[in-house]
């Protein structure tokens, strides 16, 4: 069976299957109550002076309430739901007195408990325009709605929709950002590599990437100023520029070219990025690297010592007009190259002592993945900053 929904002002029809899919994609069903929605229903019930207000979604054969004011079950049969009429008609529904309305007077919630009389609802749409639910106010006393009241109701519905979409858009952004991290593991012969990037918010400004090179691999770790969505947009740009610049030529020439490309964008955004880029020659263990204000690269030696990688260049986006400087070191058998973001220091006491703790975890082994897991296990449920770890370990 196909139920059609006419789009407002257009002839496009949304099938029930499309509608259901759009609702499922929102990922809102059966989630916990959230203050950002609850404050809207509280405010609406107060302003309209109704006993109840609800944010409801029409799911297959049931109605489910994300937020509700008043003694109302969160779930009921779809066929009994006023909100289903709002969704099907895709328009504001005002029922001043349900007991006098032939469409609703035999509804169990009108005939029986709680003796519903007044209902006003406006559709909630998914980002694609599919009607998925209703924002409504209702109660046991008959009531009329002025034109101003209806405008206000629509404003409330618009607010709810914004909240609904904002989280959906962010979730999608998070998915896209996760997709920008390396998908394939990299295994230069004789090494094992593991990494992880955990944003403090839904998305973040940390990133890492790796690429195979003729004799080994290239690794990049970056940390964009700030957190959240704006940092994530910059992070994606920086990653793209670095991957696009290639790993064949001279590391200084390549980093300089990338920095020049990024400079105007970073300046415009008032942002900067700290970055450590390193290229490994697998056979010799030679690691040529360039640190731009990142300062958190280590070589954890098999002999028990730890070396911090040299850092002298400013972050990308801060052009001091001086040439970039690269260095190199050697990863010997049993040694590990470790790069972290500054969020990792916050997992310890916030000082450089944290790097010693990181080195100790890396030494405990047995492999790169175990060390990454060991460090990430220290992340609190709500980390203050993005946390990223890259570990490249040469087998002993």
């Amino acid at each position: 069976m196909t139920t059609g929904y006419a789009t407002r002002g257009a002839d496009a029809v949304v099938s029930e299957a499309q509608r259901q899919e759009a609702l499922d994609e929102l990922g809102i069903l059966d989630t916990a109550p959230e203050e950002r929605f609850d404050r809207i229903t509280r405010m609406a019930a107060r302003i309209f002076g109704t006993r109840s207000s609800a944010i409801s979604f029409i799911d297959r054969d049931r109605q489910w309430l994300k937020s509700v004011v008043g003694e109302v079950d969160r779930e009921k049969r779809r066929s009994d739901a006023f909100c289903d009429t709002v969704v099907r008609e895709r328009d504001t529904l005002v029922v001043p007195d349900a007991s006098a309305d032939p469409r609703f007077k035999h509804n169990p919630f009108v005939e029986g408990d709680p003796g519903l009389r007044f209902y006003a609802g406006h559709p909630l749409e998914a980002p694609g325009g599919e009607p998925v639910g209703s924002f409504c106010v209702f109660g046991p006393e008959p009531r009329t709605m002025t034109d101003d009241d209806i405008r206000l109701l629509r404003d409330f519905a618009g607010w709810v929709q914004d909240e609904l979409w904002a989280s959906e858009e962010l979730d999608r952004a998070a998915e896209v950002q996760r997709g920008l991290l390396p998908k394939e593991p990299i295994r230069p012969p004789g090494y094992d590599v593991a990494a992880r990037c955990l944003p403090a918010r839904v998305v973040g400004g940390d990133f890492y990437s790796w690429q195979e090179t003729p004799g080994g691999a290239a690794f990049t770790i970056g940390d964009v100023m700030g957190k959240g969505l704006s940092a994530a947009i910059i992070a994606a740009t920086v990653r793209g520029v670095f991957l696009g610049t290639g790993v064949q030529g001279d590391i200084v020439a390549m980093a300089t070219a990338a920095a020049d490309v990024l400079q105007p964008d970073l300046e415009e955004a008032g942002s900067f990025v700290t970055m450590l880029h390193a290229r490994l020659d697998a056979a010799s263990g030679d690691l040529r690297y360039l640190d731009s204000g990142h300062g958190l690269g280590l070589i954890v030696r098999a002999d028990g010592s730890t070396e911090r990688l040299f850092s002298v260049n400013p972050p990308l986006g801060i052009d001091l007009g001086i040439p970039l400087i690269a260095r190199h070191t050697t990863i010997g058998p049993g040694d590990a190259f470790v790069a972290v973001s500054d969020g990792v220091l916050d997992l310890f006491d916030g000082t450089l002592t944290g790097l010693e703790e990181v080195a100790a975890i890396v030494r405990r082994g047995p492999d790169a993945q175990a060390a990454v897991d060991g460090i990430l296990a220290l992340t609190p449920r709500r980390a203050a900053d993005d946390v990223t770890v890259v570990i490249v370990r040469r087998r002993g």
């Binding site: 100023m225 700030g226 008032g270 900067f272 990142h294 300062g295 958190l296 916030g350």
Partner: protein, 110 residues
Amino acid sequence: MEYTVKDLGGGVAVLHLDGRLNMTSAARLREAVTSTVANGHPRIAVDLANVDFMDSSGLGALISGLKTARQAGGDLRIAAPSEQVKLVLQLTNMERVLLAHERAETAFSG
């Protein structure tokens, strides 16, 4: 973060900051520097004695303030950074760009 501006005369002002210099307060610091420069004080000493925490956004605001001051023919100097602030400056190699002075009041004298 709260701030107060003290006019030292000769186009020099001290910006006393109090609180955390992070993503939330960074915009306030940028505005504070811009308006202090616009009010005829292109030489600004930012007193960080009461800033116990600064993140990368805070550093970004200091760097943008430095740019604003220099464009107006002045300079921005910092004073009395905490250990945590010093670490952020060291890691980013910015400690030579934002030289730390002992006291804000004397950052532009001698």
